[in-house]
Symmetry: C2
Subunit: 339 residues, 2 copies
């Protein structure tokens, strides 16, 4: 089990500073940060996700982070955990996490009991969207979608400065909107979902399947999504075809967000966003093609910023740390009010 | 120029009652109603839309409606006009109405000057969504999408009891979300839009194209969308194939709304909804197929009601009449407050 420790920033720690732990549970990796009230990252750790023993793994990561910052006099006051699937922030429960083997748990209370700290649970992409809102000035006029493209795909939505969940708690699960009606089977059981055509595993699978069918390429049967973007940047024809398919689907998905939610900012994060310009250039080319073809698309896109956010930023973990800080503060104020 | 007059309800008119005119401008037909504060329809008129002389046509319809109800002592206090495209309710302007030949106008002030009454402009599907909200109890917890399927396709969205427009004013323009990446050219300039695969003209075109290619069918080269649904109900194989394609696209579009907006109610209206059970049955069959295949789809659909609303209800015209009543009241209260 590989573990990487990456303390990021110089330890500018006020003794006794009120810190929060933020954890982002991904389908492949789980990231843990400790941040202060200024969103400075004091500790950053990444582990492969162990979906079958998630509460145990998360409790260990939290205890370790708490101990690490205590050495320098930092005190952790709350924990935020960002998870995929259908999340109920009030109860701390999540369900239907198809990329965690369909995992479901009342995670908040379970973790609170294990680590002795208030633990808040939030949707992973919503956490990252909240991080972007705060980084973007924190205004209540923010309307944005943070589209996470990693092992899975989902969007965190902020409307008028508030995380938007929808009546069914599934608003933003755009990974399961159809990209290709007759497309490949998705982890969720449906066919042709955006996630089944554009998420990291889908990109890798397209490359491997083509190579297995005898297609000549610099890619081989162990190709990852990152390999595909690198090879495309070096001109490999198969890789360029795959990137073209993926960026076309993502461009249409973004258009879908603009023609459904009418958001002002679209931010693409998650593991696949590590491709950087190799993803952004063909994506913008696809979008510019739509703008040139349609006055309606032009109107929608002209009012919208589209950008990539490197997964190294750890927007989800930092966002949920900020959410935990805000909620433990609100709970304390409410507790004071009750007395 | 055909004109049909269809007074609907018995004339239970209080002398001097405060009435509003509501007009729904469609790509094919324009409906005009007069309603009272209880949403009773006192007058109902339908004309073919004359997109090239829209202000003139609407002013004539309004004047005629005002004169008609005046005979029985009714007084019209405001006018609401529901239009497709990008709408700015404050200025009374609309633009980008692809099914009105790309029409754009500052319609509210133009009409107000012509008819001497306050004229409010609202999005057509949003007006119908507002009508459904009011008919559904008017609560502020309503989260719904009214999907209009007629000459074009768009959704009126109500979130937490309020019409939702998005930052770009294009929220709900789901007719231009992709249904088939390589599908037919849409009026908007893009390919494979939902509107280009499922709206009334697209359904008719699929039938006509197949017949022109020599396909045996009860349908002929003058087939309308309504004819396709009738023929499908009678077992015509081509018509059944087309209805299956259309209901599949609509089912995926509804799934897209549920996985983006997470709404509680989906209402399908517009001219194509006149097909009634002939549309609803295959649509629900397609949705039930998705529910059976996917726990995630089951979770999304189980929390949502899906229903058809007959175009005879005139939800758009009645909704915009109610909106005009509310806004003229708010303007008067505001005016009083200023004095």
């Amino acid at each position: 089990m590989a573990m990487s420790m990456m303390p990021e920033l110089p330890a500018d720690r006020t003794p006794g500073a009120q810190l929060t732990v933020g954890i982002d549970v991904g389908g492949t990796k789980t990231a843990c940060v400790v941040t202060d009230a200024q969103d400075q990252v004091l500790l950053h750790e990444v582990q492969p996700t162990e979906a079958t023993r998630l509460p145990e793994q998360l409790a260990m990561m939290i205890r370790h982070a708490v101990d690490e910052v205590a050495v320098s006099g930092g005190t952790v006051t709350a924990v935020g955990v960002a998870v995929p699937g259908q999340v109920e922030p009030r109860s701390g429960a999540f369900a239907l996490a198809v990329n965690l083997g369909g995992a479901a748990a009342v995670l908040g209370p379970q973790l609170a009991q294990r680590v002795g700290l208030p633990c808040f649970v939030e949707h992973d992409a919503a956490s990252a969207a909240e991080w972007f809102r705060l980084a973007n000035g924190g205004g209540d006029r923010n309307n944005l979608a943070y589209v996470s493209v990693g092992t899975g795909i989902s969007a965190g939505i902020v409307l008028d400065g508030e995380i938007f969940r929808g009546h069914n708690g599934l608003a933003g699960e755009i990974g399961h909107v159809t990209a290709e009606p007759e497309g490949p089977l998705c982890t969720c059981g449906l066919h042709g979902c955006l996630e089944a055509t554009c998420a990291g595993p889908a990109i890798a699978r397209m490359a491997r399947d083509a190579v297995a069918r005898g297609r000549k390429s610099a890619l081989d049967q162990r190709a990852s999504a990152a390999d595909v973007f690198h090879a495309a940047a070096r001109g490999d024809p198969l890789a360029r075809e795959i990137v073209s398919v993926v960026s076309g689907h993502l461009a249409r998905a973004i258009r879908g967000l603009l023609f459904t939610l009418g958001v002002q900012h679209v931010v693409i994060g998650g593991g696949v966003a590590a491709a950087g310009e190799d993803l952004l250039s063909p994506l913008l080319a696809a979008i510019n093609g739509e703008r040139a073809a349609s006055a309606l698309a032009e109107a929608a896109f002209a009012q919208t910023t589209i950008e990539l956010l490197s997964p190294d930023v750890e927007a989800g973990a930092r966002g949920v740390a900020a959410i935990a800080r805000e909620r433990v503060g609100a709970d304390q104020r409410e507790g004071v009010g009750k007395r």
